[in-house]
Subunit: 342 residues, 3 copies
């Protein structure tokens, strides 16, 4: 499918510089795109690539428009423009509605929905219109999946969970497994606490491959509208995540943490349980959040890496910071005595 | 199902304050429970919620009993009491014994066991009585699964692994994949070392969603009785975990670590290989254990997080701790000279 | 199968000390091997075990040969020798070629390939000769899997990915899920960026259980020949990993990181995105790599753990390093004034 720049600008806005009848048939990077492709410049660090681009057109901000050697669409938000254009040019694949004969389906499937090979849908499941259930997904009894949701192959939804519209789940993700709750008995053995809550997922949520969201212990685990979770994220029981919060891969969130709206959490961060994070908080990658964060802002807590020999020399002192601090205090006291000598 | 407080106390002990004929039909939190529910107070920080509770009854310790505005069951261990009561009120779901016609089963299934849709059970597998194999589980040749064990959908057990009784495994967990063993050859390419050991799992073990336990390289990986592993934990080859040890989500354990009994490991901790951890050791969340721990106790090694600007100022000095330490020494020497001046 | 030491030395080289007709029927550890087994000594810390070994023969280096109480094969690289011998003695299991009747296969399967129970292979998939597809694997449309590759049960390959020869993938691994790409709109909602790249995997790659490799955003994610990834590793979109690089479990790599050849990355390390790591770099376990590494070497950035009380005392000072540094400067200035007093 080739589209003209005029058609793109007609649909998505922006100021066209160059011929409206120029055709593009796909999107590429500034460095990689060839003829027929449209690229974008969002991050100023790639500005050098603009002059050398072989793309047919570029989406960029007004500040960079003067340097563009080819046709351009000028917009204040080139990255967002690119996202919308790409979503239009690359719609998710179509599925002919129906149920694959190898699927085991114990609940009604709406006429416009698709259930793939070897999927299992238990009893009393409510599937919304337009749902796509990939190969070998498993949906437990009494769960619900909203309209236009898509599960890639091998997604598991435990019984009794409620998922909103336009949900997108990648392979190996698991919604509704038991939270981790045990009480020690007199002999220090663990007595399991039944996890009787559910997982409630809002609309427009996406979760990545092998991400897990546990069901609540007594109340529910709640994922707000528009939340985006990358791969291999662990969300403990009773966690609440506010709307439009996004988390990068390998984040772990312990039970009963409450996270605000529009937060971002960098890869590999760990958020402990029974704490609160305000709206609009940004947690840097690798940071351990061990207490509540009450104010918006960016928070970090990682150590710099060093060449191993330098690391050995420097990091050993972390064990001696208290001693170092006391030495400084002692020096200050001794110095004050000297200074006060007549 | 509604039960009377008298029946509960008759079964689980504790001192009843209030009418024995009061009926409860479920459990809730102090803040969330309504009429007909029983709540519990275990953590003193929730004591304020006690006065305002709308629950019909509360399980609590003697110290708090005087403040309880409703009927109470008084016990020294309210959390354990709650766990036992909840387990009784919320038994795991029943499965009518039998093999779903879509399952592929190459081994005998005991009369009281259940094998769900599209599960695959290879040859020479021994299933104990009362086992529940969920949809799309895969059990490799020659493995064994003890009585009353339950696999949620999509669990994988590799060939030749031995799992004890009352095992509970959540979706996506994998037992017995190859450990990570390679020898570099003369050209710095990796030569795979066959992982010929097994995984041996004791009784009463629970593992969370997407947790992985690798088979041993030459000997076996051994998980003791009563061990509880949360989601997304990685257990390397030849690891040994002692009985009743519990680990929170996202812990990684490298090969040949030996971990004692009754330990707890916080979320996201990393335990390196070829080391030993004593019984009754508690590792804080996010801590890297890089050498053996010989004594019981709690061990921590994380850094505090800060607002990003403050972090930038402070953490850069970690690279200069050696220099800082030398400056202090130099100051001490110079000061001593001054102090010794006549 | 029993083989003689003469046959082993004939095949793999090394210097035989002891009778060539001695038979061995398997491999064990120095401490665990009994009669009929051959053990190896590679790490000098296990040298004490050599004298007490009950193995019938030992593979070891010339330096240790004098202390060996039993027959020996002497070689400069005992660990590599052991790996090759073990690979020969423990070949991967045979599969009778063919397609299990419960599999759903929409593409041609070569005569020597095997497709296991309940696997799904979509349309336009190219499978190489000798491929083994385990139970319940899912291979999306248009993907390719090279000769002699083996997928353990429950592996997912998304559409359009290209995998080389002798690939080995463990259960729950996912290749080609969407990278994590979103642009914020004017209302701070996330607009998904279609992930139109692929995953390209070279020859002789192994990936562990529940490891995930995302497809590229516009270009491809590229895994070089001979790369070995342990369990639960997350590889973001557009990442490039050079040949023969190996990573231990739970590593996370953010998008567009470029990692060189022959690197090793320790367990739980996090590598941020849009950076470069040179060839022959070794990243220690638990280290956060937040900027490019241009030179070969070993790099570390972790903190020592301490008994919890000692940790509380010392680690709080990390928040005060800037203040501590300023105090030292002030002391130096005050001391200089005193020193310059007449």
């Amino acid at each position: 499918m080739a589209v003209s720049l005029a058609e793109i600008v007609g649909r998505f806005g922006g100021e066209l510089r160059g011929g409206g009848d120029i055709l593009i048939d796909g999107i590429g990077t500034l460095a990689g795109a060839g003829p027929g492709r449209i690229a974008f410049l969002s991050n100023p660090r790639y500005r050098d690539q603009l002059r050398a681009t072989r793309a047919t057109a570029v989406i960029l901000a007004p500040e960079a428009a003067g340097e563009c050697p080819v046709a351009a669409i000028v917009t204040r938000q080139p990255y967002l423009y690119f996202a919308r254009l790409s979503a239009w040019l690359n719609p998710p694949p179509d599925f002919a509605p129906g149920v694959h004969p190898s699927a085991v389906v114990e609940s009604p499937v709406p006429p416009g929905a698709y259930v793939g090979p070897q999927a299992w849908i238990g009893p009393d499941v409510r599937l919304g219109e337009g749902v796509v259930v990939g190969a070998q997904c498993r949906i437990g009894a009494g769960s619900a999946l909203g309209e236009e949701s898509r599960l890639h192959p091998g997604v598991t939804i435990y019984p009794g969970c409620q998922v909103g519209r336009r949900f997108l789940a990648h392979s190996g993700s698991v919604i509704g497994a038991d939270g981790f709750g045990f009480a020690p008995d007199e002999a220090r053995r663990w007595v399991k606490i039944p996890q009787t809550g559910r997982v409630l997922v809002g609309d427009d949520v996406e979760i990545g491959a092998n991400t897990t969201i546990d069901r609540g212990a007594l109340e529910d685990t709640v994922i707000g509208d528009g939340v985006k979770l990358d791969n291999q994220i662990q969300v403990g029981h009773n966690v609440r995540i506010g709307r439009d919060t996004a988390m990068a891969g390998c984040v772990g969130i312990a039970g009963s943490a409450t996270i605000g709206a529009r937060c971002t959490v960098g890869g590999g961060a760990v958020i402990l349980g029974h704490l609160e994070i305000a709206d609009d908080v940004h947690v840097s990658a690798g940071t351990l959040v061990a207490k509540s964060i009450r104010s918006p802002g960016t928070y970090s807590g990682t150590v710099p890496f060093l060449e191993h020999g330098a690391w050995l020399k420097n990091f050993a002192h972390i064990r001696r910071l208290e001693a170092m601090s006391e030495k400084i205090r002692a020096l200050e006291a001794r110095l004050a005595i000297l200074e006060n000598r007549p």
